[in-house]
Every structure is written in C-alpha cells, then in structure tokens.
C-alpha cells in the first residue's frame, strides 16, 4: 500500500524533525488551529481565534515565543460539523502541527483529542468548559475556568449573600446548560442550602410562562434562581419572570457576560453572573483591551478574546519550561504549570486533571447596561464537584 508507506515516511520525518528541533535553531513552531469559523460555534471561536492570533503576532514581532521561537499558525474551519472537525484535525496532525488549539466546545475537542492523544500532540480547547473534556487523556487541556469551578464559586457567593432556597432552571440539550446549574446545586447543598424546585427547558424555547408559573407556585418560595441559559433563552425567561411580577434574585453563568444581555435594561438589573475575568482599571486585561482596539479597530467585548490571548501565553510558558518544542515535553510542562501569568487571570494546571484552576469573577449587571465587578474567587478544591 503506497499511501501507507508515504504516510509512514512522512510521520517518521515529522518525528525526526520534531526531535531535532531546539530553540537555538529558531525553528518555526507550527500551531494548528481547528476552529469553527462558521456555524453555531463561530460566535465563540471567532473572537477566541482573533485574540489568539493577535497575541501570537505580537510575540512573533518580538522574535517569537520567549523571544526566540517564531510561530506559524494554520487555521482551518470545521463549520461546526463533527465530521469536518475530525478531518481537519487529522490534516493538521499530518502536516506536522506540534500543538493543536481546538474549537470552543467539548464535542469537537474530544473528537480531536481522540486523534491527537495517540499522536502525542498537546491539544487545548479555545473555551470548552465541560470538565469532562480532558478525560480523553494527558494531551488534552482546557483553558477556561471549568463549569464546576464557576458553579462552586457562584454557590459560595450565594451562600455568603445569605441565600438559602434555590430554584434550578436547566436544559438537557447541552452539557453547559445542564452541568453548570447541577454543579451549583451540589455545592449549594453542601453549604447548607436547599433546592426547592427545578425545571427543564429546551434550547430556543420561545415561551417560559409555564415555568414561571411553576416557580411562582413553589412552596417554600425560592430566594434565588440559578440558570446557565444563554441567548435567546435567557432574555425570554427573564422577561417572562419579571413580567409575572417576580423579583427573585437571578444568578447565571458566564454566557450572560455579553453586551446584548446587558442591553436588556431593567429586567436584568441586579442579575449576578460568573465570568472568566474583568478589565479593571489599570489591569493587564484593560491594557490588552486598549492594545487590541488600537490594532484592530474593534473592542474585544467578551472574554473569549482575552482567553485566546492567554492560550498563547500558556503555550509560551510551557515551551519555556520544557526547554524544547517537543510535543511530549511541552504537554508535560504545561500540565505542571503552577500560577502561570495570564492576562485574563493566572492559571494553575498542576494538581488538576488539566482543566486549569483560574479565579472566577462575579459581576453584577446594572439596568443602565453596565456591569460591576463584585469579587474574584478561586474554587475550593475540597468542594469542587466531580465532572
């Protein structure tokens, strides 16, 4: 079989080149980006890629990673399609990518991981937050604070605020909308709170009046409602809830950190949500926002941009620690990073199952369309629910 021979030779060559490479040679470091530039994941992957590309270009302008290893990025569109995801990942691996950055969701990241894991190539998701995704193996990494970390920090915050009875609204249609509230509930109950009721909704459900009626009739009445719903479900829900005259406190996941949610006005006034970071005055994040806006002309208006940039930082620090670009060594170095310097926040992989421990921000939305920084917290590893 000729193609086997050809493939085999190519692999051997790639391996040889990989082994021979050392920073001193200023060899190009090839990072393959498997991302959804179109389709339903594009709203997350596009900003993440923009941020990643921006920071890699900044680094390249200064000589590359750690000032000495120039980086070549190759981006391929998966169209948010699983079969395409698999094909694209295989192509990038074939072409000799030494690091793969994958789409912002668990499904495509796990599918890619099943290819990169046996090939021994470290793979990091843009913003997949389902903690399950790193179970594929030791070459698969998360980058964003996982759902269980966000759930834990939010639950501790809710307990601190004196809330005791939670109503959970979740959707089984995605790991995110289902997992977040469940992690919250688990920690909230450990803290002594109770779950007084829960409802399931479907993604893109147009009408929430039945659920609101159920919440209204729940005895004892909840003092807080928690949901990881995103758009358009969250706006539909919050309008129905406030329209029915209920002013129960609502808390949600990091998907609420968007200009459109903040633009909903009075109905979202006072809503708390988690977030990966907050561009406080004078912070590295604020500086990134300024640099990015100057360079591209558009503001990075969600955390995916800065997290994309932090992925570049994570790779840079792993390569520095490994002292080589060899994929196996980089993966091992990455897994052992402790309190690495990031722009959105610092990150610790050591001691985790490769979902980094990063601080989670709690923010509060105001009716005038602004958000307020409330606190920054780390999930207590003792309480962290199992994925």
């Amino acid at each position: 079989m000729t193609h086997r021979l050809k493939g085999g030779t190519a692999l051997a060559l790639v391996a040889a080149v990989g082994l021979a490479a050392s920073p001193a040679l200023a060899e190009e470091y090839f990072i393959g980006v498997m991302s959804a530039q179109s389709g339903y994941l594009a709203p997350y992957d596009q900003p993440a890629y923009a941020g990643f590309k921006f920071c890699i270009e900044e680094k390249n302008a200064n000589g590359g990673l750690n000032g000495e290893i120039p980086v070549r990025i190759e981006v391929r569109d998966t169209r948010s399609d699983m079969a395409e995801t698999v094909k694209v990942t295989q192509e990038l691996v074939d072409e000799g990518a030494k690091f793969i950055v994958s789409s912002a969701d668990a499904d495509p990241t796990i599918a890619s991981g099943q290819i990169t894991q046996p090939a021994g190539i470290p793979t990091m998701t843009f913003a997949g937050t389902a903690p399950v995704l790193t179970q594929v193996g030791e070459f698969v990494f998360g980058s964003y604070p996982a759902d269980n970390q966000q759930g834990t920090v939010l639950a501790d915050f809710a307990t601190e605020q004196g809330f005791e009875r939670v109503y959970i609204l979740k959707s089984p249609d995605s790991a995110y909308t289902l997992g977040g509230p469940e992690y919250f509930a688990e920690v909230f109950e450990k803290n002594g709170g109770t779950v007084v009721g829960e409802s399931l909704y479907s993604l893109n459900q147009p009408d929430f009046s039945a659920i609101v009626t159920k919440i209204k009739n729940t005895e004892p009445a909840p003092d807080i409602i928690v949901t990881w719903a995103w758009e358009p479900d969250f706006p539909a829900f919050i309008k129905a809830l406030r329209g029915a005259g209920l002013d129960t406190q609502v808390m949600g996941g990091d998907v609420l950190d968007t200009p459109t949610i903040r633009g909903l006005g009075d109905v979202v006034d006072g809503t708390y949500h988690t977030s990966g970071g907050f561009p406080e005055e004078g912070s590295a994040y604020a500086d990134f926002v300024k640099r990015f806006e100057e360079a591209t002309g558009s503001p990075p208006d969600n955390n995916y941009y800065v997290n994309g940039c932090d992925i570049a930082n994570m790779i840079e620090q792993a390569v520095a620690a490994a002292g080589t670009t060899d994929p196996g060594a980089v993966a091992e170095a990455l897994a052992n990073i402790e309190d690495g310097k990031g722009i959105m926040s610092n990150f610790t992989f050591k001691g985790t199952d490769r979902m980094p421990l990063r601080p989670v921000v709690i923010a509060k939305i105001h009716g005038d369309g602004t958000k307020e920084f409330i606190k920054r917290g780390m999930a207590d590893p003792e309480k962290l629910p199992a994925p």
Binding site: A10, S38, D77, D81, M82, A130, P172, S174
Partner: protein, 621 residues
C-alpha cells in the same frame, strides 16, 4: 421494434440495469482512489468521509427515492447505530470511565466491528419495523412530518438516556475503525443493495405506488406493505451507515445526529436526484468535491505579492449556490428520474448476459368469469345521492355497456365496485364474493381489473415496466410476469414504445398501455371507464376491434362505460342506462334505443315526442 426485439427486451433491460450498477460502483472507486492517489493521506480522509456519506445517502434514498416520501427521520437510525456500535466495540477499560452507569447487558462486550454491525443491523431493522407501521400508513407531507417527529423523539430519548449515552455530553472512546477500505466497501455494498432493491419486485411495486397510488391499489398492490418493506430495509442500512459514521468520528453527541446532519444528507440527495441510486451517489460526490475544493481557498493564499485574506463560510455559500442552481435548472436533480448511463455500456453488458429471449406467455386461458350482480347500490356525498339504489348484472364473457349523461353516477359505480369509496348500502356480488367492505387492494386479486377515466399510468416507469409490475402485483413469478408483459405489449402494438417512459407516450398509446397493464393480470372482468374518451374515430374503432377480439378469445367480461354511444352500442350485448344515480333502463341496444325514459334523460322532456327525427336517432344509436 420487432416481436423478436421485444422478446429480447428482458435481456437488454438486465444488461442496462447491470451496467447502471457497475457505473455507480465504478464512479465510487474511481473518485475515491483518484482523490487518494492525487492527495495522499489527505485525499484518503476526504474519500473516507465521502464514502460514509454515500452509504448514508443511499440508505435514505432507498426509501425516499422509491417511495417519493422525503424522510427527515433517518438521522435517528444513524444515531441509534452509532451509539449501539460504539458501546459494543468500546474497550472495557474506557467503558468503565466513560459510561460508569451502563446497564450490565450492554457492558464489556468489546466486539469486533463486523459482529457489532450485524447486531446494529438487526436492531435497526427491528426499530424501523416498529416505527414504520404507523409512519408508512401516511403519505406525502404528513409522512414527512411524522419522520421529523421520529427524529425529535429519538433525539430527546438519546439525551434522556444518560446511563447509556452520557446524555447531551460527548460520547467518546469509540474505536476509530472506519478506514478508507471499510468506507469504500460499505459504499459499494450499499449501492449494490439499493440497486437490487430498486429493480426487485418490491422496488418496482413501490415505485408504481409512488407514481400513482390509486392505480397501484387497483392492481392489487398494498401501498402500506411495499412502503413498510423499503422503510425497514432503509432504516436497517441507515443504522449501519450511522455506526460507520460514529466509528469515523470517534466522539459524538446526540446533536451530531440531528437537524444539521439530516439537512446535509437530504441536500446531497436533492442535488444528485432523489429518484435514483446514481443520483444519491453523484450528489454526495459533487457536494464533497465542491466543498473540499472551495475549502482550499478559504484559509487565505498569496497570488504573487497579492495576499488574499481568509474568508470563512465560502463552502456553505458554494453549497447553497449549488443547490439553488440545481433546483433552478434541474428540479429533479442532476440525474433526473432515470439512473445515469453511458451510451454503449448497455450493449456491452447485454452481450455478457446469457439469458434466452423471453417468449411471450401463451394466450391467456379463457376466463370463466363469475357474473357480477349489483343490487340496491347507494352512495351519497354530503347529501348528494351520486348513486341511488342502482342494480344491474354483468354476465360472464359479455360486454355490458353503461351509459348516462354527465353526473349520472357511472364513475362512482366503478369506484364503489373497486372499493375506492365505501358504499352506503346495497350488495355487489362477484360470483360468491361480496365486494362491499373489502380493502381496495384486495379487489384485483379476485380477477376484477379496471382502467381509469383520467389515465393513471406509472409515469416514471417504462412502458414495459408498467405492464411487468401488473404481473408481479398479481403474484406471478418474475419469469411469468415478463412473458405476460411481452404478450400484452405486442397485443396492443406497444413494441416500439416498450423502453420509453410511460410519461412520454402520446395519448392513444397511453390508453392502450392502460389496457395492456390491466390485461397482464388476466382478469375475468374489466371495468373500462371511458376508454375511448379523447380518441379520434379511427382510434376508437381500432380500440373497439381489439375489445371484441378480447371477449371472443379470452372470454373476458367487460363493463364498458363511455359517452360514445355508437362505440357502446357496437360492442355491448346489453346496456345499462343511468341518470341521476339511478338505473333508468336495462336491456339490449335495440331496446334501449326505443326507451322513452332514455331519450328523455338524454334530450329532455317535450322533445321526446319528436324522437322519430333522424338526427336524434343518430345521436342515441
């Protein structure tokens, strides 16, 4: 075509069918190995994905193409196949981590792919049978909506069955064993199976049903049965295609087998042409090649010093444009309604096939028809009595005419006799059998055939196949059906047209074809509903001569309904006259001619006294 040419037609047809299958298979092999040769491993992956998609689209086409009902439900079968095969083949170690709550009977099998595929097939067939029983009772848009409902239900169950599927979370650890070779083998096998089914007895009867359900029912075909057979087969194959898809991905979730996949596959089928296997194959190839070519341009490239920036989404734009262009220029898809063919290939394969010419069936045995006796037959449509206590008999081996002005209820009588409508009251005894209350498709097997007032042919079958399917529907062997088809085609002088699509025939030939189709079932009584309508005098008298010969040679009884009184008078031993739903006269042509009630019904009161004028005599005679 000569008579000998007609006898050689089954051989040529088999030659063409073989050539069509070989062509589709060759296309798969050439394109797959071509891409692989051209692009190496990169091409191998494109070809693997393409072949798995071919398997899936061909499986869907097996139902959609032959039944004419678009299905949105096949992704459900694919999902079931993928999850089941994934669980059965998953390494036990991986299974314990990924699926800790898996029920014991599913856990720890670690089967090889072929064994798992057999189980997937059995489960797929079983699930298709269970879902097909309700779905195949429906037709058209309501059937399509039901398949969509099936998809939604299965999707919800897959999300809900968390112990088995991990719910909406990613299901991973599935061995990635869909190699290039496995995918090609599956695509080729599926194409051959789909082609065999399409040309089989059941495939032909289903395509007849697709083209004209009432006519198929009148031939004794039970539409639900033939639809169910293809649904079950199609579902079983789709489950296997899904398993291969799952083994190609390695990780998936219920959303993988939902609307996006459904629309992708259906779009491929529409581009190629739904009605044929070559359309399914071609659709997948065109879409794959188009998307993978356009994809090369997406990531940005440099021409000289000019840098073209990355523009993502081009593939989707290209696919949408392709669909629009195809729908605009070729609404039936690239290959339309007939399987793709290269001129000359038929001849080569026909030469390779060594089957003897098929002799026409011996003249049909004289039929000893039971008499048809109708009494007190009544049918109302929302208060309007279309047939009101009608009674008459059709004796064995004779032609009984039925005349009456427009709206007299003649066609309604035919539809009541063939149980197209249920009668409100009365009896219709055919020999010892009571027809009233029977299912419409059980009438033809009794020996009671019919033609339709508005021609109802199977437009997308050839003339020969129109007659062949009638024999098959009557329960004859393939051999006997072929022989009968050849006999009836030469009897009605349709030799020249035998290989044309029925839809392309001129009017007179269509009329004759409908009669040939009816005769191939060797009925003992035929209900001819206005056979001469729209024909010129020459054609009418030619038809009359043929009918006379039939009754003489085969002793077939005919109930002849027509407006052309001369035509009816010339053929009929007795005539039944209807007006406003009632039988107003019954007797020999001579008696009818002189019956004042008849004249009044036709010409109107007051004028009947002047019946002696030659003009009116002529009109009735």
């Amino acid at each position: 075509m000569t008579a000998a040419g007609l006898e050689d037609l089954p051989r040529r047809r088999l030659g063409r069918q073989t050539a069509q299958t070989v062509l589709a298979v060759a296309a798969i092999l050439v394109v797959s190995f071509g891409i692989e040769w051209l692009l190496g491993r990169y091409g191998e992956r494109i070809a693997t994905q393409m072949c798995v998609n071919i398997a899936a689209v061909v499986a869907i086409g097996l139902f959609v193409g032959n039944s004419g009902i678009v299905s949105f439900g096949h992704a459900a079968f694919m999902g079931i196949g993928a999850y089941l095969s994934g669980i059965l083949t998953m390494p036990a170690m991986m299974q314990r981590t990924a699926l800790p709550q898996l029920p014991d009977f599913l856990a720890g099998h670690e089967l090889a792919l072929p064994v798992a595929l057999v189980i997937v097939l059995v489960v797929g067939l079983g699930f298709a049978l269970a879902t097909g029983i309700p779905i195949t009772r429906l037709t058209g848009a309501s059937a399509t909506i039901a398949t969509l409902g099936l998809l939604i239900i299965v999707h919800s169950v897959m999300i809900g069955a968390r112990e088995i599927t991990r719910g909406s979370q990613t299901f991973f650890g599935v061995p990635r064993v869909t190699t290039f070779e496995v995918a090609i083998a599956a695509a080729v096998a599926f194409v051959i199976l789909a082609r065999l089914f399409r040309e089989s007895r059941w495939g032909l009867m289903l395509r007849a049903t697709r083209d004209n359900e009432s006519a198929a029912v009148a031939l004794g075909i039970n539409p639900r049965t033939v639809r169910l057979i293809s649904w079950v087969l199609s579902g079983g194959l789709a489950a296997i295609a899904g398993a291969l898809y799952g083994h190609m991905l390695g990780a998936f979730s219920p959303n993988t087998f939902y609307l996006t996949l459904t629309f992708t596959l259906v779009a491929m089928l529409i581009v190629g042409g739904m009605a044929t296997v070559s359309g399914a194959v071609c659709g997948v190839m065109v879409v794959t090649l188009l998307q993978d070519t356009v994809r090369q341009a997406e990531g940005g490239f440099t021409i000289g010093t000019f840098e073209v920036p990355a523009v993502f989404g081009l593939t989707t734009v290209a696919l949408s444009l392709a669909i629009l262009i195809v729908i605009w220029l070729r609404p039936d898809g690239i290959f339309g309604r007939r399987e793709a063919m290269i001129p000359g290939l038929t001849a080569i394969f026909t030469r390779l096939i060594a089957i003897a010419p098929t002799a026409p069936a011996p003249a049909a045995k004289p039929q000893n028809a039971a008499p048809l006796a109708v009494d007190g037959l009544t049918k109302s449509f929302q208060g309007l009595k279309a047939v009101d206590g009608a009674g008459f008999t059709v004796p064995q081996g004779t032609v009984t005419g039925m005349i009456g002005p427009n709206g007299a209820g003649k066609s309604t009588v035919v539809n009541l006799l063939t149980c197209q409508f249920p009668a409100d009251a009365g009896t219709m005894r055919f020999g010892d059998v009571e027809l009233r209350g029977r299912a419409p498709h059980t009438i033809a097997p009794l020996g009671l055939g019919r033609t339709f007032q508005n021609l109802r042919l199977f437009e997308n079958l050839t003339v020969y196949e129109n007659v062949l399917v009638a024999g098959l529907a009557a329960g004859c062997s393939v051999k006997e059906s072929k022989a009968r088809a050849i006999r009836e085609l030469s009897l009605l002088d349709l030799e020249e047209e035998a290989e044309l699509l029925a839809g392309s025939l001129p009017y007179g030939a269509r009329k004759r074809l409908e009669i040939a189709r009816c005769l191939a079932q060797e009925p003992s009584l035929i209900l001819l509903d206005e056979p001469a309508a729209g024909m010129n005098p020459e054609e009418t008298s030619d038809l009359a001569a043929r009918l006379v010969r039939l009754t003489e040679e085969r002793h077939i009884a005919i109930l002849l309904i027509d407006h052309d009184l001369e035509f009816v008078n010339r053929l009929s031993a007795s005539i039944v006259v209807m007006n406003r739903g009632r039988v107003i006269a019954n007797g020999t042509p001579a008696e009818i001619r002189d019956n004042p009630d008849v004249i009044e019904a036709y010409i109107g009161r007051g004028r009947s006294a002047a019946q002696t004028t030659p003009t009116t005599q002529g009109a009735i005679a």
